[in-house]
Amino acid sequence: MMAATTGRDHGRAWQRFRRNRSGLAGGVVLLFFVAVAMLGPVIATHDPTEQFLAPATGGVLDPMEPRDTGKFEAPSGTHLFGTDQLARDIFSRTLEGLRVSLAAAVFTVVVAGGIGIAVGLVAASGPGWLDSLLMRGTDLAYAFPDLLLIILLRAALGDTFFGARQVLGVDAGVLLLFLAIGFTAWPTMARLVRGQVLAVRETEFSMAAVAIGASPSRIAIRHWLPHAAGPVIVEATFLAPRAIFAEAALSFIGLGVSPPSASLGVLISDHFQFVMVQWTALAIPTAILALLFLGTQYLGDGLRDALDPRASR
């Protein structure tokens, strides 16, 4: 069966999804983290950037002499997840990082999804030469060195987002970095949409729509695009954690966001530096990222099964 998705189908899809335990579990995990992130400012016990360094005495010059620094503390009642290399509260920073990373990941999905859907749809529904041109452009984007683009974007815009230092409570530098990641992630989406639309293009109902004189763009958006919705949603689900991973890697190689912005990537790469001193500081944000990843994987699989009945049984 290859009909366009209808309201009735959505109802069935939901029924199918509800029966998928792992998909449901993935969704619950994600919802939990989203809720925690949104409640973050309320739950946070400390200011995420405040340093609780112990005062210096001015006399402890020997590095081997034990001292109280307030740094690298293990989880305790005061600091639930311990403290970091500047004696900041890791619990509060993790909440902040989660919020920032989730918001930025959604942003990446919007950017990559927007470009990818537009390019894929136009390529599949337009004339052959346009298709070829856009697909070669996609090839090009695949092969393009992402790092150069990221460095260029940051150099061009600084740590501001077209003048603003903060957008929707997220530091502009973070958004910019994820914007760059989004720019490098759209080709997959474009190919996917194009493939889906090409498959539905030749079916009877599109022929019928053409026959009754519907405008091409109307057909593309009203009939072909919904057909691609399932795979697009699944791909978008997978893209979100990939963006967070990409940001962690960039942080690690020294191309991350400017401090003191916190994101999961910043926390992981910062805490990696002192893992042998306080491993819990690394384990916590890493575990959260892993759960986010697993959650989206299972959710994505569940959605795929639910939205594409062929694959489910």
């Binding site: 010059l61 001292r67 530096q273 001193v277």
Partner: protein, 585 residues
């Protein structure tokens, strides 16, 4: 020494530890009291039984930029260069110059230095050889001096040697270059002037065992300059035959205790003993340098006995402190280096000296050294570090406990309570520089009420932004090339090759110029101290910390001689004395 090396957060094959980290290390209370001599010196060589396998395994923080002595400017390259070359003189562990290729250190008494101080004559030892066994003659030293001034390729270290005479019809070309710099000449004018230097350079080899350097200015520190890598002899025939590629392992020929056997770029370097070296033959057969940038990974390798020596970052220091066994292998000592904050003098707000003084005073340097850096560094108030003539603990004392005064200065400058002042810290994204920037941010926001923004950039963008003046503050520093304030103060003279902020102060320039010509050492040092007072008071730069080195050394590395002026690896200046004895299998 040298530039502190590139910081790219410890990753990717070429990973340089943070600048700061490099300079960092070192404990030792000796640096506080002014003695540069390391306190922690492993067992002497004489009594030990040497192992059959004599290989030392160490880690470099990154890839050397070049192993061409006349082109090198970075401390990683110099770390290797000083093991594979011998110069006319060598700096000893007590920081005095000692003869190396030369038979003796020239003095006025032995006739090596002319009475007017303008001619230095070095008599070479007999039977000197290159690592390929061919005889080394004085002409090789003339070649190296000439290469230093090759037009178009002049590295910044050429500027240290503008004292070499280069008389032309329009006066001395080297002096002309220096004057043009100070006057702010254009690139074309400078290039044209620099081209005049080489043809008339007065470095001569009257016979195969004598080299004579004529100076245009009496320069008491010339002996120190003669011990530095830019004047190491070179094989012009090898360079002519292989071009810019000559420093590769296949074609590299040198004259030091070791020679270059292998250079896998970005991965490893191997030096082996040079059988033709004129000095007492090293016991070590070879030295392996790996290039792993992650401090954590290097630490694991040390624990696994894959490295014999490892330098410690801030987190590793805490790890060692909590580990009784590792503490036994810990050494720490002073480095002649100073790191601090360069202010943007072109910035509208910071062009006001009161704002700069307020920022300089609004910091608790003890907290930085003791708590943030775990005692890996010492709080700094002056420019010339302890352990060097010209260091004066009174310099910069106005910034001790200076928060109240800083607040008053800000109000005076029109920023009451810090309101209206935004300070941008420009930095590269490394763990150490992020640590420093965020600490500075909290200090200034908390103590002065100003708004502080941190902008991290990749290395090249950082330099571009700095050149374009898109910053208020950058963190940077200097390490000694030779233990004399003459290596430190001229950096801030107008037109100086390293005066990035273009600081200009006539009184400062005058004092430094006067000191350069002063033959009475006591007065000379006093002039430098006076100049330093102006520098710290005018605050184009404010010191934050003095460097120290903190490292772990395996007990079987004996005879290691740490130095306050070494490159990137503890004891690297004197690896020829190291003996491996009793290495664990």
């Amino acid at each position: 020494m040298t530039m502190m090396r590139l910081p790219i957060r410890g990753v990717m094959g070429v990973v340089f530890p943070a600048i700061l980290m490099i300079l960092t290390a070192c404990q030792s209370d000796s640096s506080a009291t002014g003695s540069p001599v390391p306190e922690a010196t492993p067992t002497p060589t004489a009594a030990v039984q040497a192992d059959a396998v004599q290989t030392l395994r160490v880690n470099l923080p990154g890839e050397p930029q070049t192993l061409d002595p006349q082109r090198s400017t970075d401390s990683v390259s110099n770390t290797i260069l000083r093991s594979i070359y011998s110069g006319l003189l060598r700096v000893g562990p007590d920081l005095t110059v000692q003869p190396d290729l030369a038979m003796e250190v020239p003095t006025v008494e032995n006739g090596g230095i002319s009475a007017d101080g303008l001619t230095y004559t070095f008599r070479l030892r007999e039977g000197l050889k290159w690592s390929d066994g061919t005889p080394l003659v004085a002409g090789a030293l003339v070649d190296s001096a000439r290469r230093l001034f090759e037009p178009g390729a002049t590295g910044r270290y050429a500027d240290f040697y503008r004292v070499l005479a280069s008389p032309g019809p329009d006066g001395d070309a080297n002096l002309a270059v220096r004057a043009a710099r100070r006057a702010g000449a254009t690139a074309d004018e400078l290039l044209a002037l620099e081209a005049l230097v080489q043809p008339s350079l007065r470095v001569e080899a009257p016979d195969d065992r004598t080299v004579v350097y004529h100076l245009n200015t009496s320069t008491p520190v010339f002996l120190q300059l003669a011990a530095m890598w830019p004047l190491y002899p070179v094989r012009q025939d090898v360079i002519t035959a292989h071009g810019a590629q000559w420093p590769e392992a296949a074609t590299h020929i040198s004259n030091g205790p070791f020679r270059l056997a292998e250079w896998q770029h970005g991965e490893r370097i191997e030096l082996v003993r040079n059988e033709h070296w004129h000095g007492e033959a090293p016991t070590l057969d070879s030295i392996h340098y790996s290039m792993v940038g992650e401090a954590g990974v290097a630490m694991l390798a040390y624990g696994n006995n894959e490295l014999d020596i490892v330098t410690l970052g801030p987190a590793e220091l805490v790890q060692v402190r909590d580990d009784l066994a590792l503490r036994e292998e810990f050494i720490a000592y002073a480095q002649l280096s100073t790191v601090g904050l360069y202010f943007n003098l072109g910035d509208e707000d910071l062009s006001d000296v009161r704002v700069r003084r307020a920022l300089a005073g609004g910091l608790d340097r003890n907290e930085y050294a003791e708590v943030v850096r775990e005692g890996a560094v010492l709080p700094a108030y002056g420019w010339v570090p302890p352990g060097m003539p010209g260091h004066d603990p009174e310099v910069g004392s106005q910034y001790r406990d200076g928060v109240a005064a800083a607040q008053a200065l800000l109000t005076e400058a029109g920023f009451p309570g810090g309101a209206g002042l935004t300070v941008t810290i420009l930095s590269v994204d490394t763990s150490t520089s992020n640590l420093t920037s965020q600490w500075l941010q909290q200090q200034w926001e908390r103590n002065l009420g100003v708004t502080v923004v941190i902008e991290t950039r990749d290395t090249a963008t950082f330099v571009a932004d700095r050149l374009a003046g898109n910053y208020s503050v950058v963190v940077g520093g200097w390490g000694a090339d030779y233990p004399d304030p003459q290596n430190w103060l001229p950096l801030f003279q107008a037109g100086g090759a390293f005066n990035a902020g273009d600081f200009r102060n006539e009184e400062f320039d005058r004092l430094v110029d006067e000191a350069a010509l002063e033959l009475d050492n006591e007065r000379r040092i006093q002039l430098y101290v006076d100049a330093q007072r102006i520098l710290i008071e005018e605050a184009p730069f404010t010191p934050l910390y003095y460097g120290r080195r903190n490292a772990l050394v395996k007990p079987w590395v004996t005879g290691l001689l740490p130095s306050s002026m070494e490159g990137e690896i503890p004891g690297a200046l004197y690896f020829d004395r190291v003996v491996i004895s009793g290495r664990a299998p």
